[in-house]
Amino acid sequence: MTLVTDKPHNDPQTQVATIPDKSRAERLTSFEVEDFAVPTGREEEWRFTPVDRLAGLFSDTATDADAVSFSTKVPEEALQAALAAGVAPRGTVLVPGDRGSVVGSANSPEATYIKVPNDAEYAEPLRVDITGNGAGRRVNSHIVLEAGSHSKALIILDHTGSADFSGNVEIKVGDGADLTVVTLQRWADDANHLAQHDAVVGRDATYKHIAVSLGGSIVRMNSNVRYAGPGGDATLLGVYFADAGQHLEHRSFVDHNAPQCKSLVTYKGALQGETAHTVWVGDVLIRAEAEGIDTYELNRNLVLSDGARADSVPNLEIETGDIAGAGHASSTGRFDDEQLFYLMSRGVSEDEARRMVVRGFFADIIAKIGVAEVVDPLMEAIDAELALDMKGEA
């Protein structure tokens, strides 16, 4: 029998200043900076984020001169003239959903625009290499990616170096197109990155968004999807590895606004070291008109050492019962010492055993990613993270 305690438990959650949205669909989006106040950390969508370290990225500020180098490696016919604000397709897919995104949008006079022509199929990945040139230096970036109807391409955004980086990416997947967008966060330890990646998936189109977050002090990425017609298929995958002091936050919102579409959201992360913090919030809304859709979202976290914290929040909102399937799963587990004992009792050293367990943890999502250009450096990076930890503990 539980005893009644003399002091009521004060859940900070109950003191949140704003009233939670009735539906995820009602959350504010706007191009006007003044529509979004600087977050205090008490807002529902900012409650996990160390907002006090993000003052630079919340300010309505232009890009510092030479704070960033862009290197775009795409076929000539795919690189289009830059887009000013209000020039379509810019703004047709992405409307800023928070303070970080709106100041980035307002301070990006020109957006890089890449369009894969209709019916074109590129065997080689298209790349945009983004290198920050200094910690705390402000960068506003806006990229528009469009896959023409029935085209097929893989686009890699690779973030390295250091900056206070505000990155908006809008992605338009044409009817019948097959587009994979990979975003690699391989920042230096002192970089901050706020991102909003919005996609509209065309009729019978296939869209894959792969987020890999390894570096950076704070990375907070919103990856959102909606559909332009029936038959669309969206897969959002994420892999992250947080060390001491790192805050890696991934939020996704799949808006099932069309019938007969599919979505699969899978994020897996490992954490090691004091104060390593990861957040995953997966929102799925199935609107009344989204009949026959199928959705599943999953988040798994592997905590490798004491003092690390993983928050995991799936939200599924269903407005029609006429669907093929909807489910979610979320779990956070500590590194299992029994697995370590089992492997070591077969002669395997402790370091090698830990590596096997962590690689094993990521094995299924690595298989889902299936892109050699991503998988190989990712596995190397995970091994390097583990090696660092073992050295640190020795």
């Binding site: 697995q339 009792s345 002669g347 402790e350 055993a353 096997m356 367990v357 943890f361 094995a363």
Partner: protein, 252 residues
Amino acid sequence: MATLEIKDLHVSVETEAGDKEILRGVDLTLNSGETHAIMGPNGSGKSTLAYSIAGHPKYTITSGTVTLDGEDVLAMGVDERAQAGLFLAMQYPVEVPGVTVSNFLRTAKTAIDGEAPKLRTWIKEVKEAMGQLRMDPVFAERNVNEGFSGGEKKRHEILQMELLKPKMAILDETDSGLDVDALKVVSEGVNRVKENSEVGVMLITHYTRILRYIEPDHVHVFINGRVAESGGPELADRLENEGYDRYQGAQV
């Protein structure tokens, strides 16, 4: 010729109520080529003996020694014990998601031998051993113990024993949860290793039925954390008829 020598072994575990002594002075000597059955009722400390020898961190050795050919086993790490030639077939093998059986076996073999096995002969060896244990070849691509039935887990343990070729193998209730057919297959596997090598086997069991398939040279009755009686195979027959009741009253 190898010898595993256990002398006056005392082991305790941490419980909420404080340290609890489970092994209270175990003496046992196991030589190459010998098979010793350790029999006893539930809770007598049989599994604790197995896990203590393998080095599970849950158990604290409070006194006594364990040596393999004079080397101090208790001073070795868990991996070093396996490299020295000790093997523990576990009662409840652990799942390792995302690690395939074939990767696991190759990694273990490499760690035990100190060098990677020659690929072609190794693949053949694994295939043969799996065939003899009546394991489907697709088994090699499944994740270690994930979704395995009880019988599959035990076969997988014996498969490792065959491939890793230990000097001393401790089989912790390998017979538990097996139907007669699976018990026969697993026993045949153990007997093959005994025929083809000088392995010493410590067979820990609650029941006598596995002893119909694996013949022990020595039988030890384990009661309340120590060996209460030792004898030849005839002791097992006596236990089959009389059970452990005779010893229970004598508990300290």
